[in-house]
């Protein structure tokens, strides 16, 4: 079953007088219970694409269909985790998780209880009344994840969620994210994650979509058919073969872009 369709997305940014094509005719779709990673070099428009999917930005042409309905503005069914967390520093961890429910007008006791549950899910019970200022980076991102889950989204968007964390913390949070995603009782159904870390993408995703820059576009996709949980395979060739495949595709895309920018380039 297809949950989300991305159709011929095109996006340009104005840069002074000239225009830069950021995304050129990007199309793909996301199925039910799927974990998809977008990888690509910086400047390939992967974050912009994620923002278009969430409804934060508008595409110049093309459309996003969520369960057949076009997405034109942010909806509760699609939620997002930010790279730099986006927590409000003057609210406690619990209040930050409550925030999206507050806008929807959920009653104080109900939203506190729900927020409590999700903080527990990200293993942050005991830190409800702590302010972001006093939380470590990993804990902040846990709050960010709990907040994104609080509205029980169908699709979770993650914008380089682990790239501002140290490797050990990132590893723990990757496991946590996968566990929550695989838990049938917990949201979300599907996850789209933007990453520039190929190993991370191969470790987590069912499919890795590879993008190339100038203009941003899809150059291919790699199906990752490593059985889950994957922690037992990270030292085996089945894992490295996938990593190599994605790397090769990235390099091919870069070469393509360089050639287009400068035809004499070999």
């Amino acid at each position: 079953m297809i949950l989300l369709t991305i159709e011929n997305i095109k996006k340009t940014f104005a840069n002074g007088k000239s225009e830069i094509l950021v995304l050129d005719e990007v199309s793909f779709s996301i199925g039910d219970e799927e974990f998809v990673c977008l990888v690509g070099p910086s400047g390939c428009g992967k974050s912009t694409l994620l923002r278009i999917i969430s409804g934060l930005e508008k595409a110049d042409s093309g459309r996003i269909l969520f369960q057949g309905q076009p997405v034109t503005h942010p909806i509760p069914q699609i939620s997002m985790v930010f790279q730099l967390f986006g927590l409000l520093p003057w609210k406690t961890a619990l209040e930050n998780v409550e925030l999206p429910m507050e806008v929807l007008g959920v009653k104080k006791e109900d939203r506190a209880r729900t927020a409590q549950d999700y903080l527990k899910m990200v293993q942050l019970d005991g830190f409800e009344n702590t302010y972001p200022h006093d939380l470590s980076g990993g804990m902040k991102q846990r709050v960010g994840i709990a907040r994104a889950l609080a509205l029980r989204p169908v699709i979770l968007l993650m914008d380089e969620p682990f790239s501002s964390l140290d490797e050990l913390t990132a590893k723990t949070l990757r496991e946590l994210t996968l566990n929550i995603w695989r838990d049938p009782s917990a949201p979300p159904n599907s996850t789209i994650m933007v990453s520039h870390n190929v190993e991370e993408a191969v470790y987590m995703a069912d499919r890795v979509l590879v993008m190339a820059p100038r203009p941003g576009r899809l150059v291919g996709e790699v199906k990752i058919d490593i059985p889950r949980p994957r922690s037992q395979y990270v030292r085996e060739s089945i894992y490295f073969n996938h990593v190599d495949e994605v790397m090769a595709m990235l390099e091919k895309g870069k070469k393509l872009s360089d050639q287009e920018a400068n035809p004499s380039y070999k």
Partner: protein, 605 residues
């Protein structure tokens, strides 16, 4: 009609004339001996030919408008002193320019000294901090010595000294902060390559502080115009001592206080405002744009009062509206709240006492004694000291009313300006020109107008006082609020949009909490400038020496009486001390606590 021409010309300035900035680069690069200046001059003419034409056009156009306005004022006015306008304009401008040059030279050299030498820093910084917090009137006793010793030149000299005391500090503290904020990697690499001494100053320090010097000089320039009316209209024991070459501030004060000639005063005020805006657009905007590029840090340096600081907080700041260079308001404030050690505080206090001592000695020609102090406390206006608590209460109420008004208006306008692009295009130009109006010069004009409306000088003065305070306080609040609102990180904005915060909900849940620390900063600056202004705003010099001047009860007017009317230095120093105590305790009990409370609002990204 005149307004149309004005708008046209101002617009002409604003629509970019890069030729001045080119001139700037020309000057900067000329220091670099490797590059042939002739070549630069050539490209300058060639590349910016059209801009040069535009620039010359706006330069000449503005000059023509100035001349026409001057001519109109001279011919249409019945005021006998109007004929002196060209001389007065010239003398005021040259006076401010001379003071500016002295201030820059002093500020840059002492700033670099204090920033690079530990002992110099320990002695200079707290003492200068103390000096800068003294309102212009506090320096009054000092200049009286010159006034009578040196004849006409003495008067000119005292005007320049008074102006210096309101212009120089911003540059000093700007330079101090800028030198200290040169990134460590730059300092270390310079040391690693053996760059030291003059070379270090020339290649590392000077380029790094250029934007701050320009910003500080601009602030000093505006301050100069602000205080010009106070500096050029010196009163002593009820008599007006005018500088021999006159001045616009003197002329305006005469027109309002002596002749009560309202139309003339208004024309003069427009004339002065135009000069300020003209120079702002013609030079400062260009200079700043130029100086801003190619330096290590964002353009804003803000210096706030610290624990050991007495009195008025000041800021060196330049916000480039519409560009990306918005300061990280809170981090900058918390970093530059100056803190002094006990040794530094004691040194500053000792130096201050020594200074008071010397001034008293110069004035009376013999060493200050207990007798003298006793005499000071028994002669007028010492009799009013018994009512001191009431006077403090009245002044504080005026300040509070003005503060609340400016707070509400600034939050409304600031948030709107930052959130709506279209409104911003209306509000920013108002800000730009409004900032150029020398508010102190507005004072007599406004008083005359309100007096005409209400027919009661007391009511008129009360209203004028509060209006002046609001006009003065609101800029700092507005500036801080706009910059903070613009500074909300992208992630927070995206998060807010994603979860559906819109309109009013966005303002109450996201914007207001985010700008609270900046509101505190703005408040500190506003109160600082408010204390400086209220000293002039509670007191109206009289036209006739035989009539006592008009004043509304308050600690500010008491200070004026001690300074202007009775020349009672002892009481003057005493009241300055009282004001300092109030300002210090407000800082300790309110502002510092609030800032600490908002520390957790600080986003570390």
């Amino acid at each position: 009609m005149v307004l149309c021409v004005l708008i046209f010309i101002v617009d002409g300035f604003v629509t970019e004339n890069r030729c001045f900035s080119c001139c700037w680069r020309f000057l900067v690069d000329q220091l670099d001996l490797n590059r042939p200046t002739a070549f630069l001059f050539f490209t300058f003419i060639q590349k910016w030919g059209t801009d040069l034409k535009k620039y010359i056009a706006s330069f000449v156009g503005g000059l023509i408008v100035l001349c026409v306005m001057g001519w109109l004022i001279m011919t249409k006015s019945l005021n006998p002193e109007a004929a002196n306008l060209p001389l007065y304009t010239f003398s005021t401008i040259s006076r401010i320019v001379i003071t500016l040059i002295i201030s820059i030279a002093w500020g840059v050299s002492f700033g670099i000294l204090a920033a690079t030498n530990r002992i110099a820093s320990m002695v200079l910084t707290p003492f200068i901090d103390l000096l800068q917090s003294i309102p212009i009137l506090g320096y009054f006793p000092m200049v009286i010595g010159f006034l009578f010793l040196l004849g006409p030149w003495g008067i000119e000299l005292s005007v320049i000294i008074l102006l210096f005391t309101s212009m120089a500090w911003a540059i000093f503290f700007g330079v101090l902060g800028a030198v200290k904020s040169i990134p460590t990697n730059v300092v270390e690499s310079a040391k690693g390559f053996g760059v030291s001494g003059w070379r270090y100053v020339r290649h590392i320090i000077l380029p790094a502080i250029a934007p701050t010097v320009v910003a500080g000089a601009n602030l000093a320039w505006c301050d100069g115009w602000f205080f010009m009316i106070a500096a050029e209209y010196i009163q002593y024991e009820g008599k007006v001592v005018s500088p021999p070459s006159g001045g616009l501030g003197y002329l305006l004060a005469r027109a309002s206080y002596f002749y009560e000639d309202m139309p003339f005063a208004i024309m003069l005020l427009i004339f002065i405002t135009f000069i300020v805006v003209y120079f702002n657009i013609l030079t400062w905007h260009q200079l700043m744009e130029r100086a801003n590029t190619g330096t290590y840090k964002p353009i804003i340096r803000m210096d706030l009062s610290g624990v050991g600081k007495i009195g008025v907080a000041r800021s060196v700041q330049w916000f480039h509206f519409g560009s990306i260079h918005w300061p990280k308001s809170f981090s900058i404030v918390s970093q530059s709240l100056r803190k002094y050690s006990k040794v530094e505080k004691v040194t500053a206090v000792i130096l201050a006492f020594a200074a008071v001592f010397i001034v008293l000695y110069l004035q009376s020609d013999h060493l200050p004694s207990l007798e003298m102090i006793q005499q000071g406390f028994t002669s007028p206006p010492a009799d009013e000291l018994s009512r001191l608590p009431v006077l403090i209460f009245l002044t504080m109420s005026r300040l509070t009313i003005a503060y609340v008004i400016s707070l509400v208006v600034a939050i409304g306008l600031g948030v709107l300006a930052a959130e709506h692009k279209r409104l911003a295009t209306i509000i920013y130009p108002i800000y730009d020109i409004g900032q150029g109006v020398p508010i102190l010069a507005l004072f007599p004009v406004m008083f005359l107008g309100l007096n005409g409306v209400f027919g009661s000088p007391q009511v008129a003065l009360e209203l004028t006082c509060i209006t002046m305070l609001v006009l003065d306080m609101i800029w700092y609040m507005f500036l801080n609020i706009v910059s903070a609102t613009k500074n909300i990180p992208t992630e927070i904005n995206e998060m807010a949009e994603l979860f559906g915060f819109k309109g009013f909900k966005r303002v109450t849940h996201i914007v207001i909490p985010f700008i609270l620390p900046s509101i505190v900063t703005g408040s500190i600056l506003s109160w600082g400038t408010g204390w400086n202004t209220i000293i002039f705003a509670e007191y109206m010099p009289s036209s006739d020496p035989s009539i006592p001047p008009l004043s509304i009860p308050g600690i500010g007017s008491l200070l004026d009486k001690a300074g202007y009317q009775f020349g009672n230095t002892v009481v003057l120093v005493f009241i300055l001390g009282v004001i300092a105590t109030i300002v210090l305790s407000m800082e300790g009990f309110i502002w510092r606590r609030l800032l600490r409370k908002f520390e957790r609002y600080h986003l570390e990204v």
